[in-house]
């Protein structure tokens, strides 16, 4: 099959998989059956579309094939009547079916790893192999995780519906955390070069967009979507032609998608108008501060330190403190920034970005030997090829 058709099928599937699974689940009340039959319909599409052409309404085609498969299976099933009458899932009421599916997949009764794998498989339509390669875990592990999670959804009676209003905030936080993790995993991977590979980051942004459509007055959903859009708008500048990482300071800002940045900033304004601030909106505000700056040197570092301070109030994590230290460097100098960074050593000693930040600061302060050992530590702590190339290049230039 030509890569073009395969990629188109992949795109259609991403659009439709969640919808088809959701609709079958609602119709037959059997989540496992719905998920299996949706996958089968996709396999059928991969087999027949390259020869017969892509149908004019691919979603309806997939829906029909999946429904036929489901009926075939149910007919074979001795307990047909029992299954149809004892729908474990109440019928959907309003909202997008796929969001209800996402709430089921991100239920707090499932582990985070299971939530992520299940959401990617069931809502975004990724194969087990794709999920495994994105998270660098064996395919068998992912398959087992998904099987167990599906079985728990059915046996423990995890519902397929919007959470009660009282629980919405807590449950939405689970969904957003899964999307955030998914996005970062995709955004940091150096797989952008592989053009036909669907990126996790785009999937996460797509799912966030879907969530925002259904819940347009949830400020943090808009904030998260704005954050994703701001990162994706600048993706062109992130890797050099040899695949190495280009730091924000050195990026060619003419490669950024200005229109997308403007859209995302407007989205963030909408979120702010709801007057319910939160960590995703603050992270998006930080990203927009960078995205709107004409150059590295004209960046509003004072504003960034202030935004990091606010972020620390709601999310007091050492990684946020490290980022604040970088902003502080430009406001108050390398000495103070190094002092702040050193204070994070006990907590972040296994985090490569702490050591590369220290290396940069030590270099500026003329402490080349210490900088060199900080680069070595950073290198020993990351497997990401683009980051490794960057560290090697920077370490080589120390003292030159």
């Amino acid at each position: 099959m030509s890569p073009a058709v395969e990629s188109l099928v992949g795109q259609v599937f991403r659009e439709e998989a969640g919808r088809v699974t959701a609709s079958l689940t609602r119709r037959y009340g059997d989540f496992e059956l719905a998920e299996d039959c949706t996958q089968e319909a996709f396999v059928e599409a991969l087999r027949s579309w390259p020869d017969q052409g892509i149908p004019s309404r691919p979603g309806a085609w997939l829906q029909l094939v999946a429904k036929r498969r489901a009926l075939d299976r149910l007919r074979r099933d001795q307990r047909f009547a029992v299954k149809v009458s004892g729908l474990p899932f109440p019928a959907a009421e309003g909202g997008d079916d796929r969001l209800q599916l996402m709430f089921a997949c991100c239920h707090p009764a499932l582990s985070r790893a299971a939530q992520v794998a299940l959401t990617l498989r069931v809502v975004a339509g990724l194969s087990t192999a794709q999920i495994a390669s994105a998270f660098l875990v064996p395919e068998a592990t992912v398959a087992q995780r998904i099987t167990r999670a599906k079985s728990k959804i059915v046996r423990a009676g995890i519902p397929f519906r919007m959470p009660a209003p009282a629980d919405l905030e807590e449950r939405l936080a689970e969904v957003l955390a899964v999307l955030y993790l998914m996005f970062n995993e995709g955004y940091l991977a150096s797989r952008w070069e592989v053009a036909h590979d669907r990126s996790l980051a785009e999937d996460a942004a797509w799912l966030a967009g879907l969530t925002a459509q259904v819940l347009p007055s949830e400020a943090e959903v808009l904030g998260l979507l704005a954050l994703f859009k701001l990162q994706l708008a600048r993706v062109e500048g992130r890797f050099a032609s040899d695949g190495s990482l280009v730091l924000l300071a050195d990026q060619d800002r003419s490669l950024w998608d200005r229109e997308a940045i403007r859209d995302a900033t407007e989205l963030l304004d909408q979120a702010a108008a709801l007057q319910r601030p939160g960590p995703y909106q603050l992270q998006a505000a930080i990203a927009s501060c960078h995205a709107l700056a004409e150059s590295w040197s004209s960046t509003d570092w004072t504003m960034l330190v202030r935004l990091y301070d606010r972020l620390l109030e709601v999310q007091p994590s050492p990684v946020v403190r490290l980022n604040r230290a970088v902003a502080l460097w430009h406001v108050a100098g390398a000495d103070l920034a190094l002092h702040e960074t050193d204070a994070l050593l006990p907590e972040l000693q296994r985090y490569h970005l702490l050591h590369s930040t220290r290396a940069e600061l030590l270099t500026e302060l003329g402490r080349d030997e210490e900088a060199q050992s900080a680069w070595s530590l950073a290198l020993s702590l990351t497997l990401n090829p683009a980051e490794r190339r960057h560290i090697r290049a920077r370490a080589g230039s120390v003292g030159s």
Partner: protein
């Protein structure tokens, strides 16, 4: 679906607190009995009054005490019949009688 809510552990506190907790437990029990979702349940005597029988050897052996020596043992249970896990969770979140609950679906064919 039917679930068993297992009440794990006990609140530390004096007699006064115990009396107030028991009053809240009574109110919880009554509320859900009236609405028909609570179909059964009991409070258990403490683990100190437990007796364990071990089978599988050449003959059954009877020993004093609970089967697992844990600090937090099951002090009671309720059987509830609700549409889904979220409904069971809603009940569990308002349970006033123990610091931890375990929710298990009941095996139904």
């Amino acid at each position: 679906m039917k679930y068993m809510l297992m009440f794990v552990g006990e609140w530390d506190g004096g007699d006064e607190q115990t009396a107030s907790v028991m009053k809240d437990v009574g109110a919880w029990w009554e509320k859900y009995s009236k609405s028909g979702v609570l179909v059964g349940g009991e409070r258990l005597r403490p683990a100190a009054h437990a007796t364990t029988v071990r089978l599988g050897g050449s003959a059954p052996t009877v020993v004093d005490g609970p089967f697992a020596e844990t600090k937090e043992s099951v002090g009671g249970f309720a059987i509830v019949e609700v549409p889904d896990l979220d409904a069971a969770l809603e009940m569990a979140k308002s349970w006033p009688g123990s610091p931890t609950l375990e929710i298990r679906p009941i095996w139904e064919d």
